[in-house]
């Protein structure tokens, strides 16, 4: 069910059965910006996994004797108002951002995907009612919805994930539904139906795998905005709670207060957020051009 790189090659109009490396190299040559984005995401992934090895200090250990320190050989990116090492906090923040970003994107996309699949496949009144309900969810600005949700659920890591995933559901459902609508009418689906294959099996085994292209594009694009919303929620004090070091919270009130004395407090976490979101946006754009033929050239 998972889309193998070979499937990407087919979608790109290349010869089938090319090796993984060949495919990646071709992607990098044709979409240098996309490859750069992929590399950024890879760096973030490695940082998140090996955060414990990459850290130079304990990210939550305070040091009253060395607060608001400038970047130095000891503290590469300086220290914050409590004397915590900013570099180590950013490294660990990658873990929090990625966990929240990936988890909420997957949760929202899978839930939305299933809703879109069923609503598109069943059609009729079910589809109509579902669409109107999705209209309601989509009408509210993403951030406002996430704000209300996370305030309502209370500050906890899993609640932030839920709060961010809810606004993704209607977007995912729309994308999957529209591709289901075209695939549903294809002859091989008719053939499967004629053979007496059950509806659930047709929907999940025959139609779903063919919606994977747009689905992957959607996930990549949503990852960026999920990371951004997490940072914003944490900035406003409604996101990931202490003691997790979160990029957004590193920028909150305390950072603004000391910004003038220690600009590195504001600069580095913001650069980390921007690079992560930038990477997933670049990759998402390139994947959309490659995997979604209908949007090619746009």
């Amino acid at each position: 069910m998972a889309v193998r790189p070979a499937a990407i090659a087919v979608a790109a109009g290349a010869r089938p059965r090319a090796g993984t490396w060949t495919v990646l190299a071709r992607f990098a040559r044709k979409k240098p910006l996309g490859a750069a984005g992929g590399a950024l995401i890879l760096v973030m992934l490695v940082t998140a996994i090996f955060a414990d090895l990459l850290q130079t200090h304990d990210p939550i250990a305070t040091d009253a004797t060395y607060t608001l320190g400038s970047p130095s050989a000891e503290h590469w990116l300086g220290t914050d108002h409590l004397g915590r090492d900013i570099y180590s906090r950013i490294v660990h923040g990658a873990r929090v951002s990625l966990i929240v970003g990936v988890a909420s994107t997957l949760l929202g996309s899978v839930l939305g995907g299933i809703i879109g699949l069923l609503s598109g496949y069943i059609g009729g009144t079910t589809d109509l009612v579902t669409q109107r309900f999705l209209d309601i969810l989509q009408g509210l600005p993403l951030l406002v919805l996430a704000l209300v949700m996370s305030a309502a659920l209370g500050p906890a890591l899993h609640n932030v994930v839920i709060a961010i995933s809810i606004p993704i559901i209607p977007r995912a459902a729309r994308v999957i539904r529209s591709s289901v609508l075209t695939i549903r009418e294809m002859q091989y689906v008719e053939a499967a139906r004629a053979l007496g294959v059950r509806h659930v099996r047709i929907a999940f085994r025959h139609i779903l795998p063919n919606t994977m292209g747009p689905f992957i594009v959607l996930c990549t694009a949503q990852l960026g905005s999920a990371i951004l919303v997490e940072a914003t929620l944490s900035f406003l004090g409604l996101g990931v709670p202490e003691p997790y070091p979160s990029w957004g919270r590193m920028l909150s009130v305390s950072a603004a207060e000391y910004a003038q004395k220690a600009p590195h407090l504001v600069l580095f976490p913001g650069i980390a957020i921007s690079l992560a979101v930038f990477g997933s946006n670049l990759l998402g754009d390139a994947l959309r051009d490659t995997l979604d033929p209908r949007l090619r050239g746009s």
């Binding site: 109107r132 309601i136 009408g139 509210l140 305030a151 920028l251």
Partner: protein, 317 residues
């Protein structure tokens, strides 16, 4: 056309009704209520006293009664009373609206002023270094958190120009120059972000139009590039851009929430965050509902405008 408008209005009303239910339910999921928060610093509060306050605020009644009461208030334009400030909600919200509207309008203006020209240049110079540079520029805008961009703008002004932003809001009649500066910077921070979407749509839509026959005709007639692009192509390419500006509005509000906070502007969006933190139900409910109404109306308006701008679009047939 007339039936189409009526139809759309009916759907919009139904959507708003659904939204009101979603908003109402979401806010009731919250652990802890206003009474707990109001008295969290007071230490012990006797249960009977708490009961009395809940009764006074009307939150001891069943949820469906509260919901119907809220609907009645919306319809009659009575926005209820703020729990925290003990003032009518409208009285608190009203002075905040112009601030947010001004910021939203300025941001949209910046977004269009940055987005459309960069989109056009990018399309005309497709796949050149300039195109790549402009696309990276716009994508960068989409990637930077609006609040961070605001902080960096303030920080660089303080560092290089020794300019310190006014700590409180300055009205346009008090000191127009200060007022303008106070609004232009946050509008730039929000507008840059929004310009990315407009730039992308302008680019792709212009690229599509440039492939049309009538453009080839214009070239064949020997028109100069400038006239073909700005007079012939852009006119039609801008239609999808108008739609995006409408959709953009919902997107913009997210940017305003944090930007108003960073720049200390007393607008609706900043107040929303404070009200959420206070669990001030009437204020949050009404503000989110207000945002929903504005979003729905702007989408509706854009759809109507689309029919006026493009004679090929005919509704209701």
């Amino acid at each position: 056309m007339k039936t189409y408008v009526v139809q759309r209005l009916a759907i919009a009303l139904l959507t708003l009704l659904g939204m009101s239910m979603v908003i109402f339910t979401l806010l009731r999921l919250a652990p802890g209520d206003i009474v707990d928060i109001l008295f969290s610093t007071a230490g012990y509060v006797s249960p009977s006293e708490k009961q009395a306050i809940m009764k006074e605020l009307g939150i001891d009644r069943p949820y469906w009664v509260q919901y119907l009461e809220w609907l009645r208030q919306i319809v009659t334009g009575d926005l209820g009373k703020s729990y925290r400030y003990d003032l009518p909600a409208w009285q608190i919200i009203r002075p905040l609206v112009p601030v947010t509207l001004e910021l939203a309008a300025l941001s949209t203006l910046f977004a269009v002023l940055i987005g459309v020209p960069t989109g056009v240049i990018s399309a005309v110079r497709q796949d050149t270094a300039l195109d790549y540079a402009l696309r990276v520029f716009s994508l960068a805008g989409l990637s930077m958190p609006a609040f961070w961009l605001g902080m960096v703008i303030i920080l660089s002004l303080v560092t290089w120009f020794k300019w310190i932003p006014p700590l409180s809001y300055v009205g346009p009649t008090e000191d127009f120059k200060l007022h303008a500066v106070q609004f232009l910077l946050p509008a730039l921070a929000v507008g840059y972000r929004s310009s990315a979407l407009i730039m992308r749509i302008t680019r792709s839509s212009l690229l599509e139009v440039m492939r049309e026959d009538y453009i080839r005709t214009a070239w064949a007639k020997g028109q100069t590039g400038r006239i073909v692009i700005w007079r012939h192509a852009l006119k039609n390419a801008l239609l999808p851009v108008v739609t995006v500006i409408g959709i953009e509005f919902a997107f913009l509000i997210g940017g305003l929430v944090v930007t108003e906070t960073v720049f200390n502007l007393p607008g609706v969006a900043r107040f929303l965050v404070q009200a959420i933190l206070w669990r001030d139900y009437p204020i949050v409910q009404n503000l989110v509902m207000f945002i929903a109404i504005v979003v729905i109306l702007s989408n509706l308006l854009v759809d109507m405008l689309y029919g006026v701008l493009d004679p090929r679009v005919r509704y209701g047939s």
